[in-house]
């Protein structure tokens, strides 16, 4: 199929050719591990003068009156209280943390951010604000500013990027590569890392998830809290089985205001109670997955 080309950037098919996972050269993990699990925590700051990104309670007779203080408070709970429940799980099971945070939010929750810096979490670029990349006025400036804030905070440039709501323009991977990011996780099209071509240096995409993701499951699909655990385990068992001959990656993505609620926290914890001791599973952050892929995976395309 020939689709009309965008004026700048590339069509997805021009960045990555179709490739069935069964026909690739096998990927091997160290110590005969079969798969990697990486867990991403998303922290956002919601502006009470704007429409809330999500709501739990709608006003009588519907509509979205402004300001929306009840739903702003619901989200704020995650950063005041809920986050600490998730952190305890990461600490107890020695799971390396990956923080996905808007640049502008870094200054809003100093104790929360400090707790992650102290634990040497990986900070991933996540846009300067929680606005779709298509709507950001100056994309390059936003991507650059996000990196600067995180570098100032941690002393290291972020290597990874995950767009707000995974959104991209046709040009996003090009700009990310030019601005020095090494990987992106917006492309949920595979169980293994893949190379994406850009107009400059290629960039790696690491498997992320919209399915083992609490926004989708709890807020959009309205599943019971236990479904988060059930689905994660079903996903885990299948990926583990599939990874017999070639390694695969599974992602779990959470938000403190959702999985950090008391009635849900137990189901998040239970996942790690179940899988943390598996001998053939590695718990890595995005950077570790990237380094492994760069070392053992296929060479970057020209």
């Amino acid at each position: 199929m020939n689709f009309p080309k965008p004026p700048v950037g590339m069509l997805p098919g021009d960045r990555i050719a179709y490739s069935p996972i069964v026909n690739r050269k096998p990927l091997k993990l160290p110590n005969r591990a079969r798969m990697v699990v990486w867990t991403i925590t998303n922290v956002e700051e919601w502006d009470p003068t704007q429409t809330m990104p999500r709501t739990v309670l709608t006003p009588p007779a519907g509509g979205s009156p402004m300001p929306d203080i009840p739903n702003w408070c619901w989200h704020e709970y995650g950063n005041r209280v809920g986050f600490w429940r998730l952190l305890q799980v990461y600490d107890d099971f020695k799971i390396p943390g990956v923080m996905n945070i808007n640049g502008a939010a870094v200054g809003a929750f100093p104790e929360l951010v400090q707790a992650c810096v102290e634990r040497n979490w990986e900070f991933v670029g996540h846009g300067f604000t929680q606005r779709n990349m298509q709507k950001v006025e100056n994309e390059r400036d936003d991507i650059r500013k996000s990196a600067q804030v995180l570098e100032k905070l941690t002393g290291k440039r972020p290597r990874g990027w995950l767009g707000p709501g995974l959104t991209e323009t046709w040009e996003t991977p090009d700009i990310l590569a030019e601005e020095g990011y090494d990987y992106v996780a917006d492309w949920v099209l595979d169980d293994q890392p893949v190379w994406l071509k850009t107009r400059g240096k290629p960039i790696v995409n690491i498997p992320y998830t919209q399915e083992c993701n609490d926004v989708a499951m709890m807020l959009i699909q309205h599943h019971k809290a236990k479904e988060f655990y059930d689905r994660a385990m079903d996903q885990f068992e299948q990926v583990h089985k599939d990874a017999k001959d070639s390694a695969r990656v599974m992602a779990i993505s959470v938000h403190p205001y959702i999985m950090g609620a008391p009635h849900r926290a137990k189901y998040f914890r239970k996942i790690f109670e179940k899988i943390a001791k598996k001998k053939d599973v590695l718990f890595w952050n995005g950077s570790q997955i990237l380094d492994w892929y760069l070392k053992t995976g296929p060479k970057a395309p020209h």
Binding site: P48, P60, P67, I69, P110, E111, K224, A225, A261, P262
Partner: protein
Amino acid sequence: MPMHPRERLPYSSIENRPLLKFPKGVRLVIWPVLALEEWDMARPMARMVISPPQGQPQQPDHPNWSWHEYGMRVGFWRLRKVLQNLKISPTVTLNARVCETYPQVAQACVDLGWELNAHGYDQVPMHKLDDQRAVIQKSMDIIEKFGGKRPRGWFGPGLTQTFDTLDYLSEAGVEYIGDWVLDDEPVTLKTTHKPVVALPYNFEIHDITMMALQNHPSEVWHSRAIDQFNWLYAEAAERPKIMALACHPYLSGVPHRIGHVERTFEELLGKDGVVAWDGSKILDWYLAAKAT
């Protein structure tokens, strides 16, 4: 000048705060909230259980009005029985207009000595009122006249507020609100008048959210509350925890849900150190505990 929420309450992580203490023997407080509303048939209904053929809401919306009215005619009395049997004295948050349109219901609450808390005049978001200050005063006055005491607490209809609602509430004599669900502990909010305390309410152990918006099976009323409780109860070994449960007669008072509501309260109150307090009592505890 309307205040940004963080000007009223700066961000603070629960991890590093001074410890509040419950009286000896109390480990966790449950806060039952019973909400009584008036749905004006001249307007779109606050919630809907059934949408009309082709989906477009019509007025008058007789089917959904009746659905709510059932709660006041039948459901409330079931809930009253359950709460009475378990010796629970809930916070009753009511649209002031309920005192005019359902005096039998409001009187039943007064007779049992239940706390009356103001929930606006009728079930309309605060944003839609031309004169919030006047409606707040009127609501407080009507409930005070009916119940003999000025309400100490307030829930906005749909928990709605504008940036200046809190200032008007404080002027009208409101001492606590339940609209801010941002913490597990009471917090003190700055206003242009006296400070107002936000008690830890929540939108998740809440029948509208669970049943009318997220469409969970009735059984989730019980299972989610128990999950919430178990987690908070464990944490309550370290810090005092308060757990709110919100009921509306048209949702929680129907035959297929009331059993789940009843066994939830029964099981929670059967645990060591668990007591049910109304908002007024939680407020008094907090003000005293904060001072020491």
